[in-house]
C-alpha cells in the first residue's frame, strides 16, 4: 500500500456542543444553526469565512447538506454530507483535513445535528435501510436493541464476557458523566442497579441502551495559520483510518473494521496504545465498546473480559474512557452521537473539558462505528489526535 501523507499544517479546534434535550420541538435545521452559532462564538469567525461545510444528520429530511447550506445561509466552496451516523465524526475530520491540506477549503465547519421529537425514534427506525425493512424489522421490531442483543449474546458466549464486565464499563462511564453538566443522565449508577435493570432484549438490559435525544455537535478544521490568527488552541491529527463492510463473511459480528486497519493507524501515528491519554469510543452498546478495546489494540481478541476487570476507566484511571459519560450517559443525539466522541476527545487535550479534566492529557484516540444496515454495524473509523 502506498504510504499516506501526514496531516501537516492541518489543525482541529473549537469543539462545541449544543446542550442536549430528551425531546425537542425544534428541527434538525434549528439544532444545526445553533451549532454554527456556537462555533462562531467560540472562534470569532463570521458566517462568510466558512468556506467548507460537512454535515451529518438523520432527521433533516427531506433536506441534505444542500438544503442545509441554503437554510443556514452558507456559500461554501467545499461540501460534504455523511450518512454514516456513528462513524461520521471521524469521517468528517478525515475529509475536512484533506480538503484543507490540499487547499480546496480553508475553514471547514463539521456539524452534526439531530432533533428528537416524540415519534422520531420510531419513524427513523421504520425507514432506516432496505435490508432492515426486509429482513430485520419484521422479526419482532426490536430496533437496534434486538440486533445488538444478538451480537452481544454471541460475543458473551464466544469470549466469556459477563454482564458484570459490561456493567463495569457502563458504571465507569456514568461515573465520568457525573461531572459533565450537559450529560442527560448524571445520577449514580451502581453495578447492582445495572444488573437488576429490566431486560429490553436479552441479554441487553436497560442500562446497556442509550437514551435517544436531540442535540448538536460541531468542530472546526483549518490551517495552523488561520487558527493562530484567530488565537485558537489547536489539535493535530496524527493518524486516521476508515473501513466499511469489513469481514462480510463473519457469521455474527465479533470484530469491526478497525481490526483490518489498526496496524496502519498506529504506524502512521508513530505511537502505541500505551501512549493514549483518553479513549473516546463509540458506545451505542457496551459490547461495541469492548470490541473496540480489542480491535484498536488495547488488548488481544478474547482477552477483553480480563482487560476490563484489571483496568480503571475513570477520568483519573489508567485508561480514561468516554470521559463525558459517552452516549450511554450523555445521550445519543442521532448522528451527533458520532461527533460526541470527537468533541470530547478534542476538549480533553485542549484542556476545555465539560466536566473533570483528565490529568496531563495530550493524546486522544477517537473511534466511530456507524449504521446497522442489516445485522451489524457497517462503518468504522478512528483518529489519533495530539495537542499542538
Amino acid at each position: 500500500m502506498r504510504k499516506r501523507l501526514r496531516y501537516d499544517d492541518v489543525v482541529v479546534c473549537a469543539p462545541v456542543t449544543v446542550p442536549y434535550e430528551r425531546y425537542s420541538t425544534q428541527t434538525a435545521h434549528w439544532w444545526a444553526g445553533k451549532a454554527l452559532r456556537a462555533l462562531s462564538q467560540a472562534t470569532g469567525l463570521e458566517r462568510d469565512a466558512i468556506d467548507g461545510f460537512c454535515f451529518a444528520s438523520f432527521s433533516a429530511g427531506p433536506d441534505t447538506a444542500v438544503g442545509m447550506i441554503q437554510h443556514l445561509g452558507l456559500s461554501p466552496r467545499w461540501l460534504d454530507h455523511l450518512p454514516t451516523g456513528g462513524a461520521s465524526g471521524v469521517m468528517a475530520l478525515r475529509r475536512a483535513a484533506r480538503a484543507v491540506q490540499c487547499g480546496d477549503a480553508e475553514v471547514v465547519a463539521c456539524v452534526a445535528a439531530d432533533t428528537n421529537q416524540l415519534d422520531s425514534f420510531r419513524k427513523t427506525l421504520a425507514n432506516f435501510s432496505r435490508f432492515s425493512q426486509d429482513a430485520v424489522y419484521p422479526y419482532g421490531f426490536g430496533g437496534p436493541n434486538a440486533t445488538f442483543a444478538l451480537i452481544t449474546d454471541n460475543y458473551m458466549r464466544q469470549y466469556g464476557v459477563t454482564r458484570e464486565d459490561f456493567g463495569k464499563l457502563c458504571v465507569a462511564q456514568r461515573q465520568n458523566a457525573r461531572s459533565n453538566p450537559l450529560a442527560l443522565q448524571r445520577g449514580e449508577l451502581t453495578l447492582e442497579a445495572y444488573l437488576k435493570a429490566r431486560p429490553i432484549s436479552d441479554p441487553v438490559h436497560l442500562y446497556d441502551c442509550v437514551m435517544p435525544c436531540a442535540g448538536a455537535e460541531a468542530f472546526l478544521v483549518t490551517t495552523a495559520k488561520v487558527a493562530e490568527r484567530l488565537g485558537l488552541q489547536t489539535v493535530r491529527v496524527l493518524s486516521t483510518i476508515e473501513r466499511h463492510n469489513a469481514y462480510p463473511d463473519d457469521l455474527v459480528q465479533w470484530r469491526g473494521g478497525w481490526a483490518m486497519d489498526v496496524d496502519d493507524l498506529w504506524r502512521m501515528a508513530g505511537i502505541g496504545p500505551q501512549d493514549i491519554d483518553t479513549l473516546q469510543v463509540y458506545d451505542d452498546y457496551p459490547v461495541i465498546v469492548a470490541m473496540q478495546l480489542e480491535d484498536l489494540g488495547f488488548c488481544a481478541k478474547g482477552d477483553v473480559a480480563q482487560f476490563i476487570r484489571r483496568t480503571n476507566f475513570g477520568i483519573d484511571g489508567d485508561l480514561p474512557l468516554n470521559t463525558n459519560g459517552g452516549q450511554l450517559s450523555a445521550g445519543q443525539a442521532g448522528a451527533a452521537g458520532g461527533f460526541q466522541n470527537m468533541t470530547e476527545g478534542l476538549r480533553q487535550i485542549l484542556r476545555q473539558p465539560l466536566g473533570d479534566q483528565v490529568p496531563n492529557a495530550r493524546r486522544s484516540l477517537v473511534s466511530g462505528f456507524g449504521l446497522v444496515n442489516y445485522d451489524r454495524g457497517v462503518c468504522t473509523a478512528a483518529a489519533i489526535l495530539e495537542a499542538a
Binding site: F121, R122, L125, A126, N127, R130, F131, Q133, D134, A135, V136, Y137, P138, Y139, G140, F141, G142, G143, N145, A146, A149, L150, I151, D153, N154, R157, R198, P199, I200, S201, D202, P203, V204, P248, L251, V252, Y374, D375
Partner: protein, 392 residues
C-alpha cells in the same frame, strides 16, 4: 335444532380488540420472495454466474454483480445467537411480547435473522420454514431439526391458521368436495362447523355439523346464512362451483353466478366478520383451469379465471385485516362433474385434507393433486406455452 350453538351474549358497546399487522414495507425483491413463500417453498436468490447464495434479497450478486435467480435451498441451519425482545415501538409485536428471534447460519450459505421455535437452543440444528406473516410478507421461521410445529406456540400461531377450536363455514356441503372438507375440518378439531346446503341438495348426515340453507346465487340467502351464524367466524371455505363441459350460454351464466358473483356475495358478507378475529382465513377451492383454459370446459374455465382474479383482489383487501386468503388449486375432481375426464383425477377427500394443510402449514397458494401441481409448474415456467398446450 339442538346442535345449534348458543349465540354469544355480546355487549354492543364493548371495546373491540384492534388487530394490527407487522411492519409491511418491503423491497421488490422481498415481495418476490413472498410470492414464492406462498406455496411453502424455501427459496433464496442464487447467482446465475458464480452460484453464490445471497440473503437478504438483493438485486445483484454481491460477489460478482451477476444476475440473481430464485432457487430452492436446503432447509438445514444452525442457531448461532438468540434474543427475547421485551420492548418494541411496533403495535403488532407489542401485543405479542415477549418475542424470541435468533441468528441462524443457513446451510445454503448466508446468515439470517429468524423467528424461533421455543424448543430451538443456541448451537442446535434447525430446519427453516419460509412463512408468510400476518401482513402477507415472507418470514423465516426456525424449527428445531425434525420438530413437528407446535400449534399451541404463540409465535408459530401467528404464521398459520389453527383449525382446532375454530368456527368454520363451508359453503357447499351438498357436493362431495364440500362434504369432504367438512369431514377433514371436523377431524382436525374445528369447534363449530356450519355447512351450507344449496337447494335442491339435501344435507348429509354428519354428526356435530350444523347444516344451513345457503345459495350463493342469492344475495339474501348469503346474508341470512351469515346472520344466522351470529357468533365469531374464523374460517370460511368456499367449495361452491358449477361445472359443465362446453360453452352453453346458460351454463356460462350459471358458472359465473355461482363461481364469480357467488364469491363476491360471500366475501362482501364475511369479510367484516373475519376482520376482527385473531386468526382468520378465507379458503377458495378453485380450478387450475383458472390459470389457463381447459378446451373441454371453456365456460367453467372462464368463470374460474374471473374468480381467481376476484380472489387476488380480496386478498389485497384483507392484507391489513389480519386474515389470510388462500387459493386451493385443484385439477379435475373425481366426481360426477368430470365423468369423461381421464385419470388422474383428485379425490374429494384429498381436497379436504389439502384445506387443513394449507391452513395449518400457513400456505397462501396450495396445489392439490398432480394435475394442479403440474399446471402451476408449467404456468410459472412459461404461461404463454402453457395456455397454448392446454388448448391443443
Amino acid at each position: 335444532m339442538s346442535l345449534r350453538p348458543k349465540p354469544e351474549k355480546r355487549d354492543p358497546l364493548a371495546r373491540k380488540v384492534e388487530r394490527h399487522v407487522p411492519p409491511g414495507q418491503r423491497s421488490r425483491a422481498a415481495h418476490a420472495l413472498a410470492a414464492r413463500a406462498a406455496t411453502g417453498r424455501f427459496v433464496l436468490q442464487q447467482c446465475a454466474d458464480c452460484q453464490a447464495v445471497t440473503y437478504p434479497p438483493r438485486d445483484v450478486c454481491p460477489q460478482c454483480w451477476g444476475d440473481l435467480v430464485w432457487q430452492d435451498q436446503p432447509r438445514g441451519a444452525t442457531l448461532l445467537a438468540e434474543t427475547t425482545i421485551r420492548a418494541t415501538t411496533d403495535l403488532y409485536f407489542r401485543q405479542l411480547l415477549p418475542w424470541r428471534i435468533g441468528t441462524v447460519a443457513l446451510d445454503a450459505g448466508p446468515t439470517a435473522i429468524a423467528h424461533l421455535s421455543p424448543t430451538l437452543a443456541v448451537g442446535a440444528r434447525a430446519e427453516i420454514r419460509l412463512m408468510l406473516d400476518k401482513g402477507g410478507n415472507a418470514a423465516l421461521f426456525a424449527l428445531a431439526a425434525g420438530e413437528t410445529p407446535d400449534m399451541t406456540d404463540t409465535q408459530w400461531r401467528e404464521f398459520v391458521v389453527p383449525v382446532r377450536g375454530s368456527t368454520v363455514l363451508v359453503t357447499d356441503a351438498g357436493h362431495p368436495v364440500g362434504r369432504a372438507v367438512v369431514e377433514a375440518l371436523k377431524a382436525a378439531g374445528a369447534a363449530s362447523i356450519v355447512a351450507g346446503i344449496a337447494p335442491p341438495a339435501t344435507a348429509p348426515a354428519i354428526e356435530g355439523v350444523r347444516f344451513v340453507s345457503l345459495d350463493l346465487t342469492d344475495t339474501r340467502s348469503v346474508s341470512e346464512c351469515l346472520t344466522d351464524i351470529a357468533g365469531p367466524l374464523d374460517i370460511v371455505v368456499n367449495t361452491a362451483r358449477f361445472v359443465r363441459p362446453g360453452q352453453g350460454l346458460l351454463d356460462q351464466k350459471r358458472a359465473l353466478d355461482v363461481g364469480v358473483l357467488g364469491l363476491l356475495r360471500l366475501t362482501q358478507g364475511c369479510g367484516p366478520m373475519l376482520r376482527g378475529r385473531p386468526s382468520a382465513a378465507f379458503v377458495d377451492v378453485i380450478s387450475a383451469t383458472a390459470l389457463a383454459p381447459d378446451a373441454a370446459y371453456p365456460a367453467f374455465s372462464a368463470a374460474e379465471a374471473a374468480r381467481l382474479s376476484l380472489l387476488h383482489s380480496f386478498r389485497h383487501e384483507m392484507r391489513g385485516a389480519n386474515a389470510r386468503v388462500i387459493s386451493l388449486l385443484v385439477g379435475a375432481v373425481d366426481d360426477a362433474d368430470h365423468q369423461s375426464v381421464p385419470l388422474p383425477k383428485v379425490a374429494p377427500a384429498r381436497i379436504g385434507k389439502g384445506v387443513v394443510e394449507a391452513l395449518e402449514q400457513g400456505l397462501e397458494t396450495h396445489c392439490i393433486g398432480d394435475t394442479a401441481t403440474e399446471a402451476m409448474q408449467r404456468w410459472s415456467a412459461d404461461p404463454a406455452l402453457f395456455i397454448r398446450e392446454n388448448s391443443l
